[in-house]
Symmetry: D2
């Protein structure tokens, strides 16, 4: 149920409305827009009559939240959500450029790449310290050692850090080193993990599952937001289709669709979406042209010798060229890089 | 087999090489690039020894054409194919903008829309006179009457015409009125139809089948080209996936992939690809940013009352705004509109 | 609109109701069930008031045909359609077993295989004389010569013949030699072809398109039936999914679904559906267990040397074993082979 | 690396071979077949020369395990794995029939259903106490209270229990009440969870992810087996395709494919695979005909009032009829129920 209050309702009345909704057994979430407080009240609505709520002091209107996702919907929160990370604000006019290697491999690697991407215009450093691997016998990442290296490299060049957390117990460790917690595609419906990161105050980068519908993706964001953490970024990274020429099928249609349904920032990962180095820049350009709030790309100075996903990593000079291109496209859609 | 001749091979020697390949029972196709004649020789290669061909006078090198498509591949024809239609050249520096209603409905409709799209910057008028309909009971189009109307409207505003041909017997009729023959997605593997249009001299707009791989799509182009007609444009219009929020999933990954594999122009149809009016412009922008040679979009001045696909048609003023946006993006990728 | 007449309505009154519906501009199709005549009246229903039709003499009830397919629906035709071909009746208690090579290759081949499959229990001989090939350079079939060979081999062993027709102009040729006309998956929405076979009196085996929904498939059957030919069999042959281990994903769910929606017989093609020899028999067994009216399988005595699809052809002795297995399973579901 | 020892190799020599492989830094798994011990040695094989291993005392042959899954492959373990649960052995001649409600709702419900399914021939009781829900606002299950109820109901009727575990921390709780731990489709690649259940001694029912390839599914089994737990059953429950008539597309092709690639038992879940009550029995029959080792189906005595998935639950009498049918089909393929 979406309860919109009248403009200038005194705070005491606002608090009263919230309290009454809670007393009816509902979970109550508050936001403001156009000078009006809005409450999303979710739970078993059987116990409360919307007609009656409409008669409460201060209440302007009561509506059903018809989408299955509530807190993630534009109906509840009409304004774009802007998430501050380090020196940038994601979801605002500035396009977020996140870049780095697939896996953290060592000190020299991280500093070399961090320097290169920072100089080219990136503001967030990506890199995996714990890798989800389809095979139990594949390289699983450097672990905490990798996180430390990445943190130091990021700090040296003024970058924020995004890294993947794969299980509930590791959230505190990741939160110590990383500014943004990434939930990988395989874990998009790992509800235990969503619940735990929902209790943190860290921005979340929620990757879309390989075969998840847009609605399921927004419902996973809702799982996080329902626990209190409203700082969720959605990351499109390709869906599984019959086409096998590209690794996955990057679904750019999802960008304008999600921007309409939700107020959350949308980031695109063309590296995993396409999986072929010389297709990454065209798809990054297309992402920004379609309205994305940012891109996250893999960059490596020596991609032929990396332990995972080298074939899709850009060389630093290709990345610099790509940033130049998206900078111009950003202007066309009224944004900056 | 790809036979590359030495630069400045005298024409008599060139003709001799061609004749010998034909005498070995092969179909022989000729192109030129960088001052060298190239022959693609296709058929049963068992009867001829590449080593021997290499020893022929004038021959510089002999290679296997490893892709299953030959004439459509960049190996055979490294330069971009440019197709002249009316006053524009498709596949060259200028982006092709094709626009018009889903179906031809009447004179006033066609003239109103033709005027609007021409003024906004379109150079090709689209419109269906014969409609492929999933249900046998749905509106099937105005037929020849519709073609005449569309031709007159296009001529009045200096536009070329593209319209769909659905069966072999109707190719001559369509060819009389339309500058470009469109093969619809459902007919992408209708080999009888591909054969007949392959014998015409009309440019072809070959839509990708709903569940066709990129390779199958290029092989359908090959079916046309093997009959003699080299003027094929490929049109991405969305593939069928599990996602149902959008009508189809426009596969923009296909744009850079096809541009690398083939020399043929690639056009994108965001109207059918997404199927939702306010998502058409973002995806048109993304198409050009990804490297497409043009877009084809549905435009209608009164979309709420059309007989098919109104919900995805742009209003003329939305179309004009869209053209303005892709004009700027075209500049970023070194093109014009 | 579905118009059900009262039992024992005199034929003159029945004819009168039919005539009135036709005069309202509708196409009228008649069937009988439980002693009641039923008319499916399709077309622009705006000109006629169902209330008024209900008041006509002899009319028991008038209902909307809510499915987009009418003639193919169980609402119009509650009884299973049974199609007589040669000495068997398809869609009745007896399971149809169709078998033969992918392509007709020669006399000895056809007679060897026809003898083997007839002895094992097949009643219909399959074989392609004209092959739809993704590549224009692949073997295209023996043509009419192949049809003649197949006809003679079938006659020698008391089998009916099913063979694919690929284009409208070839329908008369195929109809001369083949008892059942097969429409291939690529042509499921080739409406010109559906129209022409709809005007014949030959039973049709309509394969499901690789990415066609069940509804689209039934609508293609409707295209044929709306022209007059009611003898349509539906053939499930695998859909395209992300899974690449099997050639396609045989969708056996479609069997009970179609049997509920429609009265038409459903045949399953496990050879193309799976594409791996030793998986054909298990899936043929599963097809019958799921309620299919028959199977069509590829059989070859020398599959390693065939020109197409050898890897999925059963050896004659494997086929004989498979027939034995489905015979027992048929009994479980109250059928015979 | 697969190391096969000679028959009658003395245990001391066997132990010696194992120790040497471990000293080379490899993880070593042992099995026996045809009187020969086999070692699968996995890890970084760079440090050891297969030629040398072949020369060791007792070694008959050394081969590369070419599939990415090792312990799950038939090459390592040629015999079918048989898993004992309660009074039945899964993977042996007897078909496993698992049945019960989607969710545990209360005492009367569980006892009513347990009695009904036991009398009809089920040997395992299914039921969810913790439900993974796409929406954070949906019913999440009765929790431990539900597990207790289910255990008591199962014990009362001599059934084993299977129930889903959704997160690592809950494995001990589930293991206390449930004989088989189910890993749901959404968690198929939740590696933290796979690791923890891999350390238990409970049989695991590993559901296939909605968009997982067969290879990824077997690799998830490998994640469990690599931790020591070899008792893994694979459960096909439908994949996500473009077809929306059925809830998912039950992929029965996977049954013969997995039975060839792996020695693990394969169970089919037609209830989730199809999602429509009257299609469950046909698909259960088809599953057994295709070679599955068992089925798991939803049964409820009052499905119209259940809190989740009622539309796909069988009534007890439908279930009894279904068991009768699969009993006869089991005989056809040499099995019993």
């Amino acid at each position: 149920m979406l309860v919109v209050l009248k403009p200038q309702t005194p705070e005491a009345t606002v608090a009263d409305v919230g309290a009454r909704l809670r007393m009816a057994g509902l979970a109550v979430h508050r936001t403001e827009h156009d000078g009006r407080v809005r409450f999303a009240a979710v739970g078993d609505l059987g116990a409360i009559d919307p007609k009656q709520v409409e008669s409460w002091s201060g209440v302007e209107s009561v509506a059903k939240l018809s989408k299955p996702f509530k807190l993630a919907s534009r109906a509840f929160h009409p304004h774009d959500t802007v998430i501050s990370v380090g020196r940038i604000a994601i979801g605002g006019p500035q396009i977020a450029v996140m870049a780095g290697p697939c896996s953290v491999e060592g000190e020299e690697q991280m500093f070399t790449i961090a320097k290169a991407v920072a100089e080219a215009g990136a503001t967030v450093l990506r890199g995996g310290a714990f890798k989800p691997r389809t095979s139990p016998y594949a390289f699983q990442g450097l672990g905490e050692e990798g996180l430390k290296l990445m943190r130091r490299a990021a700090d040296a060049y003024g970058l924020a850090v995004v890294s993947e957390v794969m299980e509930p117990d590791m959230v505190p460790l990741l939160a110590r080193y990383s500014d943004i917690l990434q939930i990988g595609a395989r874990n998009m419906q790992n509800y235990a993990l969503l619940r735990v990161v929902g209790h943190t105050e860290k921005p979340i980068l929620l990757k879309r599952g390989l075969s998840s519908t847009i609605e399921e993706w927004l419902l996973s964001a809702e799982h996080i937001m329902a626990r209190g953490n409203r700082q969720v970024m959605l990351c499109e990274r390709g869906i599984r289709t019959f086409e096998t020429y590209t690794r996955n099928t990057l679904d750019l249609n999802a960008v304008p669709v999600v921007k309409e349904l939700s107020h959350l920032p949308v980031i695109v990962d063309p590296s995993h979406g396409v999986g072929i180095r010389n297709k990454v820049a065209p798809m990054a350009r297309a992402s920004i042209a379609a309205g994305a709030d940012g891109v996250i790309v893999e960059v490596h100075h020596d991609p032929d010798r990396v332990l995972s996903d080298g074939a899709q990593s850009l060389y630093p000079e290709q990345f610099a060229e790509m940033v130049k291109q998206i900078r111009t496209i950003a202007e066309v859609v009224g944004r900056t890089v």
